[in-house]
Amino acid sequence: MNPNDVFITFPELLIWFPLLSGLVAFFLTKGDTAKRWAVISSFITVAIVAVSFFFTDKNYFHYNNVSYVWMPSIGSSFALMYDGMGRMLCLLTALAFPLAFLTTYNTNYAKPNHFYGLMLLSQTGLMGVFCAMDALVFYFFWELAIIPIYFLASLWGGERRIQVTFKFFVYTFVASLLLMVGIIYVYLHTPDHSFALSSFLKAALSPGQEKFVFWLFFAAFAVKMPLFPFHTWQPDAYEQAAAPVTMILSGVMVKMGVFALIRWLIPVFPHATGVFTPIVIGLAVTGMVYASLIAWVQDDLKRLVAYSSIVHVGLMCAAIFARNQSGVEGVMLQMFNHGINIIGLWIVVELIESHFGTRKISRLGGIAASTPVLTIFLVIIALANIALPLTNAFVGEFLMFNGVFQYGKWTAAIALITIILSAVYTLNMVQKVFYGNTNALTASGEGMVKRSAAVALTVVVILILLLGIYPKLLLDLTKDTVNEFISRVAGML
């Protein structure tokens, strides 16, 4: 394949297409046009990703890699790569948006053109993060993903949305700025003064420097994931943001942090990673148990899901730092699966909230009697959330726990407590919300699942089952990335 023959590459397409369609959406002020446009655009994005799966071969190298000179004076180029992990996360990003749009297809947001425009812009940022191979480009997209979300979450959502989103923004902004300092620091120590990932990997940092810069990077990623105890923004933000925004925030944006650990943190600071692994895994595992316990006593559905997300992310973090093949493969699976599952949960929550006007667990109950369809979906998704075998999350969690176990038996034992606790809080929620007799509020459940939402839920459930039974699809996709990662960090323990 001659590079000149390539008209446009996949990563570029995935970045520019949502950007353009997002910008166009701003001008579609009439009625539902913006909404339709966004749905169509998001489907096209899915199609692009789908097509890209036919071009994974090495022969198509030039379809998947880009590098333009951007700022030669400081050695930064607009470099993108579309590898297995990136492909998977792009797929997740691509899928998340139509799901979010379909769920809320019957909700009419004020100023739909702004809403959908901003949504599509955030998609651009996310795609960029997952493809970037240059630290500066990465940082650019990292921040760009946040700005539209800031507006989205502040403009549409609950009563306290403004201050909550603001807290979220400032919090992540602080962390990103630290990341920026870290990037600069590493950059100045690269042999060829370049921001390329390959140069970062060769950076000549002394162990002492590594230890210091490690935390600058880690802070940013930990806040974004969010890892205990940096999670304070998260339950509030999820609670207050509008449903599609929450879906994107939790389904995809959280993966930015996890992704960055794998691509940018551990390979660049192998030594410091080795030193700090016990601390990080300790934090992650503590956070898992902690968040599980807190999830148990939440009365707000969204907060409950938020805390459960902290548990899952904690596990991913621990598994990454365990740095063995099993753990990292598990993380790969789980990044995708957690995205799908949590989006599924949000869809259910959104349907409940939009129909009954409340998310308070204590006020709901008996929905199963009035809306059996929703209950079936919910139970499947909830079971996926607690990683029951033959749902997608099981394989991921199995591998991750296995990875953590190979790191430390007792650590894994403590982490595994969360599978008990997750059953407790998830089933508790299912029971209180869906079982029992209907009350005055929930008796009117007829017709709460609109067709578009049902389609979204069906897709989620199909993915849950498909990937639960045949996880090889994703395992094969990400195998190369994992092998490269492992070979780079192996022996650094």
């Binding site: 004076s73 403009l155 403004i162 602080v174 700025l177 300092v181 600069i184 620091y185 100045l188």
Partner: protein
């Protein structure tokens, strides 16, 4: 050289046209013509196509750095004129004189960025400040404007005294005013040199509004007419910074290690006071004044690190900061209520103003894709490169996060709060210029190289 001469001449032209032309509204066209001419002349000189040569005994030295900076200054002034023409007309009867004074200031800026002797520095700085004393007080009936003028004046002359003392000590120790040939190596004269450096540092810090010599800034910026504040906070300030950097780089660069810590302290204080105090401000104008102090803190990094990144960064910062500040002051000037509540709901009543203002504020915060990001980025890069004292960099980014707090309060007010923000009528030219400014910010945010390339022509 030619731009210095032309700006002085154009000041005179403005003055005379004030005598012969009675219509206020003509003034802006003449001024725009002048700025256009200045830009052209600067470009011609930059590309060595046409320039004036005079034997000035090396008192000024023209470098590509200075010329690029001049171009930025002139471009910003052009935008400034386009955006603030109506404000000038509202300020008082002496519109032509105001423009003339601004041209004189530009002349001073030209001198201050290319001086090679302390004498030219002194004269340049004075040419910049004396017209500003007047401009700050140009709303003669407005007590706030009066107060701003008086405060600026009293503290300004005081700082002049300090600066002169510094120059005197340096002269005593080195026997010359030429900054490129100062012999700082005489060990026995070290105390004198150090005293001179500290005094000059304090005086320049005052000019660039670094803490704790910034106290005039909030009051003066608040009291002066908004258009003047906008000019002072941007062009004048960055010019002072360039002078500051030029002086300390060329003259005292060899002794960098000796005074670096002091700069670090001043930087830290500036960042802290500027950002923290801005948080609580209710008036957007005053908030921008404090934010201007805060940005001074960031620009101080150039002095602290004193390397290529610092110089490139200062140029970028000058452009980014000036464009964004001019823009947000221009929007502010159109507001009927300068308080934060006054911005409530601007996103609905004036979407364009709100959108562009958002871009300006994002740039001031340093969000990627805006010029402000690369400005900060280069500054921090320079600072990190200089090695030691990484704590200051960390501190700076934490303070930058605080800055997000107060800038975003304005964004919140514009978009998220209910309200009915009132603005005075805005002309199409104003709107277009705002858009151009915002577009420039984004362009520089994506391709900062466009500007930096100019340095190495």
């Amino acid at each position: 050289m030619s731009s210095i001469i032309l700006s002085a001449l154009w000041g005179v032209v403005m003055m005379f046209s004030g005598i012969f032309l009675k219509k206020k509204s003509l003034a802006k066209y003449i001024a725009l013509l002048g700025i256009a001419a200045l830009l052209t002349v600067n470009f011609l000189e930059y590309y060595n196509i046409w320039y004036i040569y005079a034997d000035i005994r090396q008192m000024l030295k023209f470098t590509s750095f200075g010329q690029v900076f001049n171009a930025i200054v002139f471009a910003c002034t052009l935008l400034f004129f386009l955006l603030n023409a109506s404000e000038f007309e509202a300020m008082g009867p002496d519109v032509y004189e105001y423009y003339a004074l601004i041209f004189f200031v530009l002349c001073g800026v030209g001198i201050a960025v290319s001086f090679n002797t302390l004498l030219m520095l002194f004269i340049g700085i004075e040419i910049i400040t004396i017209p500003l004393y007047i401009l700050a007080g140009s709303e003669k009936r407005n007590l706030r404007s009066n107060e701003a003028s008086i405060k600026y004046f009293l503290m300004g002359v005081f700082s002049t005294g300090i600066m002169l003392m510094g120059i005197a000590f340096l002269y005593g120790a080195t026997g010359t005013f030429y900054i490129d040939s100062m012999n700082l190596g005489v060990e026995s004269l070290r105390p004198m040199i150090l005293i001179g450096i500290v005094l000059l540092m304090v005086a320049m810090s005052f000019k660039v509004s670094a803490a704790p010599f910034h106290f005039w800034v909030p009051d003066v910026y608040d009291g002066a007419p908004t258009a003047v504040t906008s000019f002072m906070a941007t062009i004048v300030k960055v010019a002072s910074f360039v002078a500051f950097l030029h002086l300390f780089d060329t003259a005292f660069g060899k002794m960098h290690a000796d005074w670096q810590l002091l700069i670090a302290l001043i930087t830290a204080a500036t960042l802290f006071i500027g950002n923290i105090t801005a948080v609580f401000q209710q008036s957007v104008k005053r908030m921008l004044a404090y934010s201007s102090v805060a940005h001074a803190g960031f620009m101080m990094f150039a002095l602290w690190s004193l390397n290529t990144f610092a110089r490139e960064g200062l140029i970028l910062y000058a452009a980014a900061y000036s464009l964004a500040t001019i823009g947000s002051f221009a929007v502010l000037a159109k507001m009927k209520d300068y308080s934060l509540e006054g911005f409530n709901g601007l996103g609905k009543t004036q979407p364009l103003l709100a959108l562009t203002n958002t871009i300006f504020l994002l740039s001031l915060t340093g969000i990627p894709l805006t010029a402000g990001f690369f400005a900060k980025y280069f500054m921090l890069m320079g600072a990190v490169k200089s090695g030691t004292h990484l704590w200051l960099v960390i501190f700076a980014v934490l303070m930058a996060a605080v800055s997000a707090y107060y800038y975003f309060r304005v964004i919140q007010a514009m978009y998220f709060k209910e309200g009915n923000a009132q603005v005075t009528p805005v002309s199409p030219v104003f709107r277009i210029t705002l858009c151009v400014t915002a577009a420039l910010i984004i362009l520089l945010g994506m391709f900062p190289g466009l500007l930096l390339k100019g340095l190495y022509y």
